[in-house]
C-alpha cells in the first residue's frame, strides 16, 4: 500500500519534469528551425533572416514624433526613407539622386534661401501608391502644426523654414515679467493686448509647385550654413494615411496649407490610427508586424524601394528587432537567438563579447561615440557663474581615472564638447592635444579659488584654511556651496559622488556640495528650462551628435532659450555662430572655426567633459558584409549591404 503511494507521488512529480523536458525537447527542435528563424529552413538552406536585439522597450509607435525609444527609432530608420538629402559613406550630406530629379538654390532678398526640388516620378510607397510632392509638403505641414503638438508630438519638423513661427503659433506672443510666454487658461497664447494669437493657415516657407516639385525656404538666421543640406532635407509622409480623404494640400502662392476641416476633432482619430498602424512605408523595409507579447517587430523587404543614394537594396529578407535584457543579451547571441547587438557600451558586456569573439562564437566591430558625458554648470548663478570655480571643480576631479573606470577601458577622456568619433576630432588633433586637461591638482584648485576672490570665511574674515570659502559678491557673502542635481540609479552620478563630492580634497579646498537625487526627466527639465528657479549649479548629463550637424549656435548665444548653461561670452557666441557661416564645401574653414570654438570652450568650461565611449556591435558568424557602422551611420545603413551567409 505504502509502496503504491510512493510510486504515485513519484510519478506525479516525475510527470511534471518529463512534461517540461518534453516541452523543451519538442520546442528545442522547433526553436532550431525557427531560430532557423535563425539557422536553417526545412529545405536545408539558411533562412534569409536575422534577429537584432535591443535593450530598450519597444512601444509599437515607430514614428519618432511622439516617442523616442531606441528600438522604435531603429525600426523607423529602416522603414522611413527617400529623404531628399542622404548621408554618403564618408558621412557627407549629398542630394539623393534616387529621390531628386532636379534641384536648385535661390538666395532671396530678405536673406532667406530657397531650395526647389523636383522629385523623380518613379518613387512609390510600399503599397504601390506614387510618392509625390504633396507627401513631402504635407509631412512638413502636419508635423509642424500646432494641431500635432496637441497630440503630444514634437511639431518642429519645419523649424528651420521661414514662416514656421507664424504657422506653429508662437509669433507675436507676449511675455510676462519672468520671461514666460503669456498663456490663457485654455493654453492659448496671448499677445500684448491679451488677444489670442492666431496661427497662420499657410506655411510661408513651404511651397507646393506641382505634382513632383516643391520648395522650402530657410530662415535668414540659418543662411548661410555649413550644414544647409541637412536643414533643407525633407522626407515623405503618407498623407493618405495621416489625414482623412477630405483634407488636401494646396498652395495659392502664400505657402502650402491644408484644405478642409483641419481640426483635431476631425483629423485626430485618423492620425492616432495611422500612428499605431502605419499604412505605407518609404524605406528599405516595411513593418510586417509588431508583437506586444514578444516585444518584437518583424520587418520585410519593401519591394517598391529603389535603393539608397547608390541604388543599394537590402538582401536580408526579414529583419526582426526584439527586446533583450542587458544582463543576458550576450547569452542570446551565444545561443543564436539573436544575430546582432548594436551599440554595446557597457564595459562588462563588451568584455564578454570580446571573449566570445576570441572563441570564434561572434564577430564584432567597434567605433567611437559621437558624443560625450559631462557635468553641466549653470554659468549665471551661484558659485559656478565664476570661471575660477568651474576650473577648481575640474582640478578636483580625477577625470582620467573617472573615464577609465566608467568606460572600463572602452572609451577615453575628452576636454571639450566633442566625441572621439567625430571627424573634427581626428582632423584637429593638434588643437585637441593643446587643450587644458585640468589634471588633478588640489594646489591648482586652491590657486584658482584664491585668484577668483574666494578668500573669505562666513564672517567675512580672511579664509583660515578650514570650512567653506566665501566670496564678496556685490557686498554679499556667497558661500562656495554647489547644489548638484543628479539622476537616480545612475552610475555616473555614483562615481561623481565618490570621486568628487566625497573627495576629502574638495573639503580641504573649501567647497561644500549638496547632492539632490531626482528622476532623469526632472533633472533634464531643470537643465533645459531652469524651472527650479536657478537652485541647482550643476547637472551630470550626456550628449550625442547623431548626425554630422554640429550646430552649437543657439546653445551658446547670449540670452538664447537653448543656451542651457546660461554662459554669456561674446567670443564663444561669435565662434559658435561663425562655424555655421562657413560655406558648406569648405571643410578647412569650418575646422579652423571649430578648433577656435573648442579652445575657447575649454578655457571657459561651461561644462566639464568626463568621457567619450567606444561602442561595439557584436554579431553572429552568419551575418556577413556588415561593416561601416559609425556614430553617424547606424546599423540600418550597414544592413543594406550585409547578407546572411548561405541564404538563397
Amino acid at each position: 500500500m505504502s509502496m503504491k503511494h510512493k510510486i504515485t507521488s513519484l510519478l506525479l512529480a516525475a510527470s511534471m519534469l518529463v512534461g517540461l523536458a518534453a516541452c523543451g525537447n519538442d520546442n528545442g527542435s522547433s526553436s532550431t528551425s525557427d531560430s532557423s528563424t535563425s539557422s536553417e529552413s526545412n529545405t536545408g538552406t539558411v533562412a534569409n533572416q536575422i534577429v537584432i536585439g535591443n535593450t530598450t522597450d519597444p512601444t509599437g509607435d515607430v514614428k519618432a514624433y511622439w516617442t523616442n525609444g531606441a528600438l522604435d527609432a531603429s525600426v523607423n530608420n529602416l522603414v522611413h526613407g527617400y529623404s531628399t538629402v542622404a548621408l554618403n559613406n564618408e558621412s557627407e550630406y549629398i542630394i539623393d539622386p534616387v529621390v531628386v530629379k532636379e534641384h536648385s538654390f535661390t538666395d532671396n532678398e530678405d536673406g532667406t534661401r530657397t531650395m526647389t526640388v523636383t522629385l523623380n516620378d518613379n518613387l512609390k510607397w510600399s503599397n504601390g501608391d506614387p510618392i509625390t510632392a504633396k507627401d513631402y509638403v504635407g509631412g512638413i505641414l502636419l508635423f509642424s502644426s500646432p494641431l500635432i503638438v496637441e497630440t503630444g508630438a514634437t511639431g518642429d519638423l519645419g523649424y528651420y523654414f521661414e514662416g514656421y513661427d507664424a504657422y506653429n503659433g508662437t509669433e507675436g506672443v507676449a511675455t510676462d515679467e519672468e520671461g514666460n510666454l503669456v498663456v490663457d487658461e485654455n493654453g492659448n497664447f496671448l499677445d500684448a493686448n491679451g488677444n489670442i494669437v492666431e496661427t497662420a493657415k499657410e506655411f510661408s516657407g513651404v511651397h507646393l509647385i506641382d505634382e513632383y516639385t516643391f520648395s522650402v525656404t530657410m530662415k535668414a538666421e540659418y543662411v548661410p550654413s555649413f550644414f544647409e543640406l541637412a536643414y533643407f532635407s525633407a522626407s515623405p509622409e503618407y498623407m493618405k494615411g495621416w489625414l482623412p480623404e477630405d483634407i488636401d494640400i494646396a498652395d495659392d502662392g502664400n505657402g502650402a496649407y491644408f484644405t478642409g476641416d483641419f481640426t483635431l476633432d476631425h483629423v485626430g482619430e485618423t492620425i492616432e490610427d495611422m500612428r499605431w498602424n502605419l499604412k505605407a512605408f518609404s524605406g528599405p523595409y516595411v513593418v510586417e508586424s509588431y508583437d506586444p507579447t514578444t516585444l518584437a517587430y518583424t520587418l520585410q523587404i519593401n519591394e517598391e524601394w529603389l535603393g539608397n543614394f547608390e541604388g543599394q537594396k537590402p538582401s536580408i529578407e526579414t529583419i526582426i528587432y526584439k527586446k533583450v535584457l542587458q544582463e543576458t543579451m550576450m547569452d542570446e547571441l551565444r545561443t543564436g537567438s539573436v544575430d546582432l547587438l548594436h551599440g554595446v557600451a557597457d564595459g562588462a558586456t563588451i568584455t564578454e563579447g570580446l571573449d566570445m569573439a576570441d572563441e570564434g562564437l561572434a564577430q564584432y566591430l567597434s567605433y567611437d561615440r559621437n558624443g560625450y558625458g559631462f557635468i553641466s554648470f549653470v554659468c549665471d548663478n551661484g558659485p559656478t557663474q565664476f570661471v575660477e570655480v568651474r576650473h577648481a571643480i575640474a582640478y578636483l576631479l580625477d577625470r582620467n581615472e573617472f573615464a577609465k573606470q566608467f568606460t572600463q577601458g572602452f572609451g577615453s577622456l575628452v576636454h571639450g564638447p566633442y566625441g572621439t568619433g567625430m571627424w573634427m576630432t581626428a582632423a584637429a588633433s593638434d588643437t585637441i592635444a593643446s587643450l587644458n586637461s585640468y589634471a588633478y591638482s588640489l594646489d591648482n584648485a586652491i590657486a584658482e579659488l584664491e585668484a577668483g576672490g574666494w578668500t573669505l570665511d562666513a564672517n567675512g574674515n580672511e579664509y583660515s584654511g578650514t570650512g567653506v570659502r566665501y566670496k564678496d559678491v556685490n557686498g554679499t557673502l556667497m558661500p562656495l556651496k554647489i547644489n548638484w542635481a543628479c539622476s537616480e540609479n545612475n552610475s555616473v552620478s555614483d562615481m561623481i559622488a565618490t570621486m568628487l563630492v566625497e573627495n576629502p580634497d574638495v573639503t580641504t579646498a573649501g567647497f561644500e556640495f549638496e547632492r539632490t537625487v531626482m528622476t532623469f526627466d526632472e533633472m533634464l527639465t531643470g537643465h533645459y528650462y531652469n524651472m527650479e528657479e536657478d537652485y541647482y549649479n550643476m547637472y551630470n548629463l550626456a550628449s550625442d551628435f547623431p548626425s554630422p550637424v554640429y550646430d552649437q549656435n543657439l546653445a551658446y548665444q547670449i540670452g538664447s532659450t537653448s543656451n542651457y548653461s546660461h554662459i554669456a561670452d561674446e567670443e564663444l557666441a561669435t565662434l559658435a555662430r561663425e562655424m555655421l557661416l562657413c560655406d558648406s564645401s569648405d571643410n578647412d574653414a569650418f575646422l579652423e572655426k571649430w578648433s577656435a570654438f573648442i579652445a575657447r570652450w575649454n578655457e571657459l568650461l561651461p561644462a566639464l567633459p568626463l568621457y567619450s565611449n567606444q561602442y561595439f556591435d557584436f554579431f553572429s558568424e552568419k551575418l556577413q558584409g556588415y561593416e561601416g557602422v559609425s556614430g553617424y551611420r547606424g546599423e540600418y545603413d550597414a544592413l543594406l549591404y550585409a547578407y546572411v551567409e548561405g541564404a538563397e
Binding site: 504515485t8 523543451g24 531560430s35 512601444t59 487658461e185 518584437a296 547569452d331 527639465t525 533645459y528
Partner: protein, 328 residues
C-alpha cells in the same frame, strides 16, 4: 448567507474608496510633476515657448491646478467610468497599456499555479504519510533550501545551466519572433519559451506549499478519527485520501484560493529576469518612470483582487467545512 455577502460587499466598497484615497494622496505626495512627466520626452526637441504651452495644456488637462479633493473626484470618476488615465511612459491610455501584460501574466501564472499544486500536494501528502523517512527528510531539506534561496538566484542558475550551457530553453522572451505556424504550434512555442520561467517560479514556490500540506496532513493523520478509521479496517488509501486529506484540506484550501487569485499579479523578479511582458514588469516600469496613472491603476486592481479574494476565502471556509456556518 446572502445577507453576509451583501454586507461584505458593502465593506469592500468602503475599503476600496478608503484605500484609493490613501493611494491617491500618497502618489501625489511623491516629488515630481505629472504634467512634466507627460511631456518630458519633448524636452530640448521643441522650443521653450512650445514647451511652456504644452506644459500648461497638460496641467489644464490633468487638472493639476485644481484643489486636491477635486483632482481625486475627477480621477475616481474616471476610474468608475472605465477611464484609468493616460500612461506618461507608454504615451497611451492606461487601459490599452495593461491589456497585453495582463493576458501574459494570466497565461504564465495559470500554468505556474497548476504545476506547483500538482507537485506540492502529492509531495506534501507523501511526506506526511512517510514522516521521518529518508525521502521525507530529503524533501524537508530541499524545501528549506528552496524556501530560503531567493528566486533570482534560482533563476540565474537555471538560465546558466538550462539555457546557456545545455541550450534546452531560450534565454529570455515569450515566443519566437515572427513565428510561422498554426495557432496550436504557436501555443507550444510560447509554452516552450515559458518553460524555464515556469520551472523557476514553481521551484520558488515548492518549499512553502509542500511544507504547509505536509504539516496539515500530519496534523490530520494524528487525529482520533484516523485511528478509528484504521480500526474499522478501512484501506490505507481510503484513510489517507477520504479521511485525512479532506480534513487537511481545510487550512490548505485558503492558501490554494490565494494562489489562484495571484494569477493576476505578475512576478517582478521573474518577469524582469526573463524579459516577460507581464504585470510585474509593467508595474515596476510604471513606478520607475513615475507613471502614476498606470501605477495607481495596477495597484487599485490588486486592491480589488485582494478584497474579493478575502471574501472568497471566507466563503470557501463555509463550503469546505460544514462546521463553519456563515451567517453574519
Amino acid at each position: 448567507m446572502l445577507k453576509y455577502i451583501g454586507k461584505r460587499l458593502f465593506y469592500i466598497v468602503c475599503v476600496f474608496f478608503i484605500i484609493s484615497i490613501i493611494f491617491f494622496f500618497l502618489y501625489n505626495a511623491i516629488p515630481g510633476d505629472r504634467a512634466m512627466m507627460q511631456i518630458a520626452h519633448l524636452q530640448g526637441k521643441v522650443s521653450e515657448e512650445q514647451f511652456q504651452r504644452m506644459y500648461q495644456d497638460v496641467r489644464n488637462q490633468l487638472g493639476l491646478d485644481d484643489p486636491a479633493i477635486v483632482q481625486y473626484g475627477k480621477w475616481m470618476g474616471g476610474i468608475l467610468t472605465g477611464d484609468f488615465g493616460f500612461s506618461t511612459f507608454y504615451k497611451q491610455d492606461v487601459i490599452d497599456v495593461v491589456v497585453d501584460p495582463m493576458k501574459n501574466t494570466i497565461f504564465i501564472n495559470v500554468f505556474s499555479v497548476i504545476l506547483a499544486l500538482a507537485v506540492t500536494i502529492p509531495l506534501g501528502i507523501f511526506c506526511a504519510v512517510k514522516k521521518n523517512s529518508a525521502f521525507d527528510k530529503g524533501v524537508q531539506v530541499a524545501t528549506i533550501v528552496g524556501y530560503s534561496v531567493p528566486v533570482f538566484i534560482i533563476g540565474l542558475v537555471c538560465i546558466f545551466v538550462f539555457a546557456v550551457k545545455l541550450g534546452w530553453f531560450p534565454v529570455s522572451g515569450m515566443g519566437t519572433p515572427n513565428f510561422q505556424g498554426t495557432p496550436w504550434e504557436a501555443f507550444w512555442d510560447k509554452l516552450y519559451y515559458l518553460c524555464l520561467p515556469l520551472i523557476v517560479m514553481t521551484l520558488g514556490s515548492l518549499g512553502g506549499m509542500t511544507r504547509y500540506v505536509r504539516a496539515a496532513m500530519i496534523d490530520a493523520l494524528g487525529q482520533d478519527y484516523i485511528r478509528t478509521a484504521r480500526a474499522k479496517g478501512l484501506r490505507e488509501k481510503v484513510v489517507i485520501f477520504s479521511h485525512a486529506w479532506r480534513n487537511a484540506l481545510l487550512p490548505v484550501v485558503t492558501l490554494i484560493i490565494g494562489w489562484f487569485l495571484s494569477i493576476f499579479s505578475g512576478s517582478l523578479m521573474i518577469e524582469n529576469m526573463f524579459g516577460l511582458n507581464g504585470m510585474g514588469k509593467l508595474y515596476i516600469t510604471a513606478l520607475m518612470n513615475q507613471d502614476y496613472d498606470l501605477a495607481m491603476a495596477v495597484q487599485l486592481f490588486y486592491v480589488v483582487i485582494s478584497l474579493v479574494g478575502n471574501l472568497l476565502v471566507d466563503l470557501s471556509y463555509g463550503i469546505v467545512d460544514p462546521r463553519v456556518r456563515i451567517t453574519e
